[in-house]
């Protein structure tokens, strides 16, 4: 089985702030990490390869620095990695991103399965996985919590929904997005990390994947961010309760009773 995993480098969100003057996101000094949801995609792909044979290819689009997360994937045990990186890709929204990734997957060729994390923690859109499937015209399954069965023709998965789950079967090729229930991701070993330092990661440019240039980057993106600002604070007058524990408990219960809550 030939598996592509789509990975994204994201800022560790706890650190993300807006510069109050320029209203821009402060990126300096912010740590960049492999999107936590993507670690489940890496783990699932490695487990599938170890069980059924084949190859796992890690794919990412981003600045040259995004090579770091591909190195991490190599350290974890994927076979090879490819980075889509070029100024022309800059400013891509989820439409243009999924288009470029789909084109790269086509170029990799003979891919059976694409696995993505359910969403990235910076954008939180969950749109790129289904977007890739749509661009490729493949079947998709999102929020996959288990792979139930794999045959030479089809894959059977368990999808999570708000009211339970369902089991569905699709013929290959397929795009799936996975949730954290699917596995427990490994952490890189020292041996794996040292080996990954020696591996080369090819960088693909727009011409390498034969994209229509009007469909990538900012120009290819239907959406535009027109404004960013810090969230509005909740407007309230806080009532403070202090004192001994029994006093606090009684005062709080009094407040709740006044509001007919208890």
């Amino acid at each position: 089985m030939k598996i592509v995993i789509c990975l994204k480098q994201v800022p560790a969100t706890n650190d993300t702030k807006i510069d109050p003057e320029t209203k821009r996101i402060i990126r300096e000094g912010v740590k960049a990490i492999l999107n936590p949801f993507d670690t489940y995609a890496v783990e699932e792909a490695i487990q599938l390869r170890d069980k059924f044979g084949g190859e796992v290819i890690a794919l990412s689009m981003g600045p040259p620095k995004a090579e770091e997360i591909l190195k991490e994937a190599l350290a974890l045990g994927v076979d090879r990695a490819i980075l889509l990186s070029d100024r022309a890709f800059g400013g891509s929204d989820t439409w243009a991103t999924s288009y470029a990734l789909a084109k790269a997957i086509k170029k990799i060729s003979d891919v059976d399965l694409v696995i993505c994390g359910k969403q990235a923690i910076d954008g939180d859109t969950a749109q790129v996985g289904p977007g890739i499937a749509a661009h490729l015209g493949w079947s998709q399954a999102t929020y996959v919590m288990a792979i139930e069965e794999v045959s030479s023709f089809f894959i059977r998965v368990k999808r999570m929904h708000e009211d339970g789950y369902d089991i569905c079967e699709m013929p290959f090729p397929v795009v799936i997005t996975v949730v954290k229930d699917i596995n427990i991701p490994r952490v890189p070993t020292l041996k794996g990390r040292l080996a990954s330092l020696k591996k080369e990661i090819p960088i693909w440019k727009p011409k390498d994947i034969k994209v229509d240039k009007s469909k990538i980057g900012l120009d290819g993106s239907p959406t535009r961010v027109v404004k960013i600002e810090p969230p509005k604070p909740r407007h309230i007058n806080t009532k403070k309760i202090e004192g001994s524990a029994p006093e606090c408990a009684r005062s709080l219960l009094r407040e709740l009773r006044l509001r007919n809550i208890i």
Binding site: Q140, A249, L253
Partner: protein
Amino acid sequence: MKAFTDLEKKEYHNIWVVAEVLSGEIQTVTYELLGVARTLANLKKSEVWVVVMGYNLEEKLKSFFEYGADVVILVDNPVLFGFIDELEAKTIKRLITKYKPEVVICGATSRGRALIPRVAVMTYSGLTADCTGLSIDSENGDLLQTRPAFGGNIMATIRSSHHRPQMATIRPRVMRLPSPDFGRTGRIVKEKVYFGDTKKIKRIISIFHDTETAVNLADAQIIISGGRGMKGPKGFNLLKKFAEKVGGAAVGASRAAVDAGWISYAHQIGQTGQTVQTKVYIACGISGQIQHLVGMQSCDLIIAIDQNPNTPMMQIADIAVVGDVFEIIPEIIKEITTL
């Protein structure tokens, strides 16, 4: 693809809501979306349309009109009982090409978030996920979509000026449920499923309802939620006891507590967990990182209990109780018991 000209844009009218149907039942989020769609349609002087896909729904359409729809497009077929993304996406694409809506909104549910991105790619439309606010630009009539990004640390306003339709998903319980107008009626349009190449279609093998084990944070009136300050699983046992005593209360948790393994992910509230909008939210030992706040700050009454009076949570709370959760909560339990 070329940008739409103003003339081409003018061919697109009306605000569409894609209904959320689970096992033959229309979900509340649909009515919440109808509320905001109605507001937008009034501004645009256009209509609200609902697209409903499922099986055996004909009897259930009345409520759409009561909550603000003018037209319902019904696609009723047994094959739509389970969720087949590919089929529903193709069908919606067809309807969009036929009727040219200006705006399409959909619940940011597991189904909506699988379906709409696929449709957006197929129709080359701009799509914004998890919007918390929608408005109309008074100058050019574009849809302005506001959403949290970077774990809620940032609110971004997004538009899609040169493509139609403009698409957005909205999480359940973010928009207020409008009051129904029981006399209201409207028009029903029936459409067919678009099958295309059936060989490659997904097969639903089985559907399981698992509401018993699901933690029903959404339906609770009161949520008692714990964070790092609860110090371990025992702390959460205390909260469970508290919730039992209060009655009808559910237990929630911050990401820190879930990551530490003190309580399962199903309880997590915040950007990467659930969004809740309960009457009362009692935060116990939760410092209130922004990722958590975006998931609960529209609750009606927020109560925080914490030793440190200066945490973000204590600042945004309506009632801030300063003290040790391990002393105060047992006292509350005792007081309620002796009532």
